[in-house]
């Protein structure tokens, strides 16, 4: 299987995605942002369509759209929790509308669109992998710098107000690196299913372990398992990799909920 360069690339990319998603996912869950992540995936699709239309790579189009929309969401919703969901709906609706427009204007055949939406293993070149490495390193470096303040702001927003963590700045920075992570992850699982990797592994991990760093470790583990095993099953069966990854992660989540239920019954 690894004699094919596209499989090597897919595994390299998948491993990177799993690491970034496992770590970022813990904050996505703590900050209660699965909806934002889901919307960013769709906005990523629109960005890719825009990229194709103006002759950029889809990844650069995605980065542009997801970053701009993240900043808009952060600025417009501020600290008002109840407004955030509506702001996300408005902004993602607008950007997805734009995406559909660009897709129809660019006259590309629809297989291009399905690749973006559902992911494609074959589509990943060495250069894509290189760009993903750079983006992932940027995300991880930024996380390293803001880690403690982001952790406090995510897991104890009330307490963080008196800890001088610069909550507003932290929120915007987090949204921007979330946009980067979404764009990276979209390369393999497709923009429709990025939120699978950015939410489910971390959402599962929290039932088994109770420190931020261990949740990240376990989240990475769950994501890696899904990506590696999904790629293998896709290779063997010729069915879409995305289907396997989504199914594996959903199954892990279902098992985690079951485990939590059983534990609460015995306590």
């Amino acid at each position: 299987m690894f004699s094919f360069e596209f499989m090597q690339n897919a595994y390299l990319a998948g491993t990177l995605i799993a690491i970034v998603s496992g770590i970022m996912g813990v904050f996505v869950i703590a900050r209660n942002m699965p909806f934002m992540t889901h919307s960013l995936s769709e906005i990523g699709f629109a960005g890719a369509a825009f990229g194709i239309f103006v002759g950029w790579t889809p990844l650069n189009g995605m980065l542009t759209f997801t970053t701009i929309s993240s900043i808009l969401v952060g600025k417009l919703s501020g600290r008002v929790q109840s407004r955030r969901e509506a702001v996300i709906s408005a902004i993602s609706g607008f950007f997805i509308g734009l995406g559909i427009l660009f897709l129809s204007l660019s006259n590309k055949n629809s297989s291009y669109a399905t690749n973006i939406l559902f992911g494609s293993v074959i589509g990943i070149s060495r250069q894509d992998v290189l760009q993903m490495v750079i983006l992932s390193v940027i995300v991880l470096l930024i996380l390293l710098v803001i880690f403690r303040n982001l952790k406090d702001d995510s897991f104890d927003p009330v307490g963080a107000q008196t800890n001088h963590v610069h909550s507003a700045t932290i929120s915007i920075i987090f949204l921007i690196i979330l946009a980067f992570s979404v764009s990276v992850a979209a390369q393999i699982v497709g923009s429709l299913l990025i939120f699978v990797l950015l939410t489910l592994p971390a959402a599962s991990a929290k039932y088994f372990t109770h420190t931020v760093i261990k949740m990240m470790g376990l989240g990475i583990g769950f994501a890696l398992f899904g990506v590696w095993f999904g790629l293998y099953l896709g290779y063997v069966t010729n069915w879409p990799v995305t289907f396997f990854i989504a199914t594996i992660e959903a199954a892990i989540y279902a098992l985690s909920l079951g485990y939590n239920y059983l534990r609460s019954q015995t306590e």
């Binding site: 880690f147 952790k151 307490g159 420190t211």
Partner: protein
């Protein structure tokens, strides 16, 4: 640091359509245990927010001793049953700043130290979401102590607890006050606790206030609060 941690002179705060605090003057001395009482809406939490510099006074002054470190236990927190962090990890959240993700040995020792001082050592690794109301309050208290504050502010921290848990928590606070000389500002509705623990009181009322030694708190104060 001087002996006066907080000094208010003619402090006033008005929101667009109503005055919350007017002409409030008092001093908080190091080592004091001050109980702040008053009906809803007279400005207890507003006073706390002025001390925390989350609000600016519209008149008068509030002066904090230079370098004053404040530990704050807020009124509300949304910690539900699925909150994943252990009590130990939750307390460590307050080590913020641009530092390495994992806590240093010194920081871990400090977490152990504050857990011991509030009596959480035995359940340190249990998820906070599964802790009882009293255990949660102790964890909030421990977290507020982590950076060696000079002043601890408790804003209605006991409101949701049953009577014996309230006393247990305040016994811990009183011990910190007696043994470490930690200054306490305790905001509460509970007159029984106010008469039992603080050394001084600050009774905020509409348009005026009273302050003094706790034994001089008028007998009628209870009725004033509950009508």
């Amino acid at each position: 640091m001087s002996d006066i941690l907080i000094s208010c002179e003619n402090l006033s705060l008005s929101f667009p359509n109503h005055q919350v605090l007017s002409d409030l003057s008092f001093q908080l001395h190091r080592g004091d245990f001050l109980g702040v009482i008053g009906e809803n809406g007279v400005g207890k939490t507003t006073l706390v927010r002025l001390i925390l510099k989350q609000l600016r006074p519209s008149g008068g002054h509030i002066r904090l001793a230079p370098g004053l470190k404040i530990g704050y236990v807020p009124q509300f927190r949304n910690i539900d049953v699925e909150y994943p962090l252990s009590i130990r990890d939750f307390i460590g959240l307050s080590f913020t700043g641009l530092k390495l993700p994992w806590l240093s040995g010194k920081e871990k020792n400090r977490v152990n130290e504050v857990m011991k001082s509030v009596g959480l050592t035995e359940i340190a690794d249990r998820p906070l979401g599964l802790a009882s109301g009293g255990e949660k309050q102790k964890a909030y208290l421990a977290q507020a102590l982590i950076n060696h504050p000079d002043l601890l502010i408790l804003d209605e921290s006991t409101a949701s607890l049953d009577p014996s848990t309230k006393k247990e928590l305040l016994d811990v606070v009183l011990r910190l006050n007696n043994q470490l000389g930690l200054t306490i500002l305790f905001v509460s509705h509970d007159m029984q606790l106010i008469r039992e623990y603080p050394k001084h009181y600050l009774w905020l009322q509409k348009d005026h206030y009273e302050t003094g030694k706790i034994q001089d708190l008028p007998e009628g104060a209870e009725e004033g609060l509950y009508v």
